[in-house]
Point group: C2
Chain length 336, copies 2
């Protein structure tokens, strides 16, 4: 690795052999509904609590990806997973029944990119023949952990986002058919002093900008090398900041840039304010809509950049600002 570089180039171009996207009721009413493998009818999915329901989302995503590939859990060498709940219980309880060697991650909403880059790295290095990447979020479990109990009926600010109830899973292997993972850029933590926990887009945008710049620099690429550059959940405000900041340095990202939080919901019709958010936002959009389009070759090369806000309610109560991080994964259609 060149000194100062942040980008891993995967010589073997690991293959996304299978992928699955699971969503909830609100996701079933959004513009990407047709790209989900399963859409729940309510917030509980037959479970007793929202937290158990979120774990169920991950179980369904992993099980669906596994079944689509026609393998068993014993065929998966390692599982990388994480989520937003305290102590990442959605992931550990979902993985509990699988007997897959388990490495837990915490990257907040950057987890889909982090887990996918880890899976690709382990496959590329020969540490695993098959590796799974998995994450989730749930509107109701996130609201009560990060903000207020739903019954309180708190008013949402204009910059607030709506946590996606969803999960995404990719199974990565060294050979076979499917989109290929070319490279991944590991982000540095950025903190511009934003303290408003209802404005995650502004807190996380600097991390996306920094990681995108590192990615372009490391690989000597330009935005037009991609059909689509997509952030995980910056929402309307974060997207605007990213576009503005690149414009200031003479780069027009607009023709190729979008955000999963704006793709998954109709922000005007679905009352989600600045857009969707949560680990499950980027995860379910990637593992449904984006990978489907790469498989159909409607997209030839994308850069999936999931951003995470590394705060907790405790850090905010103690007056801290919100550090952000962004990891980017470059994925091509097969044969590109």
């Amino acid at each position: 690795m060149r000194k100062g570089a942040q980008t891993l180039v995967f010589g073997s171009k690991p293959v996304i052999l299978s992928h699955a996207a699971i969503g909830g009721k609100k996701e079933s009413e959004g513009p990407l509904a047709a790209y989900f493998d399963f859409l729940g009818k309510d917030a509980k999915l037959g479970q007793k609590t929202f937290e158990k329901a979120e774990s169920k989302l991950q179980e369904l995503a992993l099980d669906t990806a596994k079944r689509k590939l026609g393998v068993s859990y014993e065929d998966i060498d390692v599982l990388f997973a994480g989520d937003l709940l305290n102590q990442c219980i959605s992931s550990s309880f979902a993985a509990r029944g699988t007997s897959i060697p388990f490495l837990g991650l915490y990257g907040a909403c950057s987890t889909m990119a982090e887990s996918l880059l880890m899976a690709a790295a382990f496959v590329d290095a020969g540490f695993a023949d098959t590796a799974a990447a998995l994450t989730s979020s749930h509107f109701a479990s996130a609201e009560r952990q990060y903000r207020f109990p739903l019954g309180y009926g708190g008013q949402r600010t204009p910059t607030a986002q709506w946590t996606v109830t969803g999960s995404g899973c990719c199974i990565v292997g060294k050979s076979g058919h499917g989109p290929r993972i070319e490279a991944a850029t590991i982000g540095k933590i950025q903190d511009y002093g934003i303290k408003d926990a209802n404005n995650m887009g502004a807190a996380m945008a600097p991390a996306a900008i920094d990681t995108l710049q590192a990615h372009f620099r490391d690989l000597r690429r330009v935005p037009s090398d991609y059909d689509l550059i997509v952030t995980g959940d910056l929402g309307m405000l974060g997207k605007t900041i990213v576009l503005d900041q690149f414009r200031r340095i003479g780069v027009d990202l607009a023709p190729v840039y979008n955000d999963c939080g704006l793709l998954i919901f109709d922000t005007k019709e679905q009352d989600v304010h600045a857009g969707g958010s949560g680990c499950g936002c980027g995860a379910s959009v990637l593992c449904g809509y984006l990978l489907d389009r790469l498989e159909k070759r409607e997209l030839r090369r994308i850069l999936f950049c999931a951003t995470g806000a590394l705060l907790s309610p405790t850090s905010s109560w103690q007056g801290e600002s919100i550090p952000g991080v962004c990891h980017a994964v470059a994925i091509t259609a097969e044969g590109v």
Copy 2:
């Protein structure tokens, strides 16, 4: 990787170039005090809150390991870190000022083994020339998050453990002087239905047993191949369970087995009940006492097995049992 194997064998044997152990006041009164690089005089280390103090522990560990090696943060290609606090804020706030590409982990008290295996894997694969592994725990921040506010003065059960206030950091590189990382075994989640959150030793022991068995099987080794097999924080009860269960299958682990939670404190004199616990327990014992002894060749080969209990207060309140995981890292003295 052989099908069903859980052990990564690092052909290049990555080197632990530098390491640092940071502790608190109680650790300064324990039998391993002389092996710490820095021991705080109180629970706050000059910070306003226990959580900020825990983040400071990580900053000190990373900074000390870096200074001992004589490098700057720009020379470290990637940092793997995690901790016990909600959303792993100790790690993200400690990493915020460093500009090191950051990959967050959550493995509960298995995090030192998880981060060290990730660092070794990235160096072995050539994804990084230099990688850091870092974790921490803090008695007061853990008590108020997982159990009760300290001022409540709750009575501790006999099986309860005392969370170590400490942090450990390793900097791993591809060449140079220092102990070598031979191999690492990635654990599977084990859940035997234990629901008592004051009996972590019993909840985590099955994970340690499963990972040790996988390690011996994968590498065709026996316990006597190691001078020391050391779990992270099973404490007295967990240690007894591990010894008992191995004895039942005809394996006497006793001559080479111990637990960091029993090494770091004098359990009788220091009123810590079943022993020390927390990410910082295994981390500070490894990064002080154990690596020092490997450097002096008092130990030639050890197996460091950190166990994590993948519960949250919410999962316990919802009646869930406590899943455990254990990752094991085989480390030798230089030249072995």
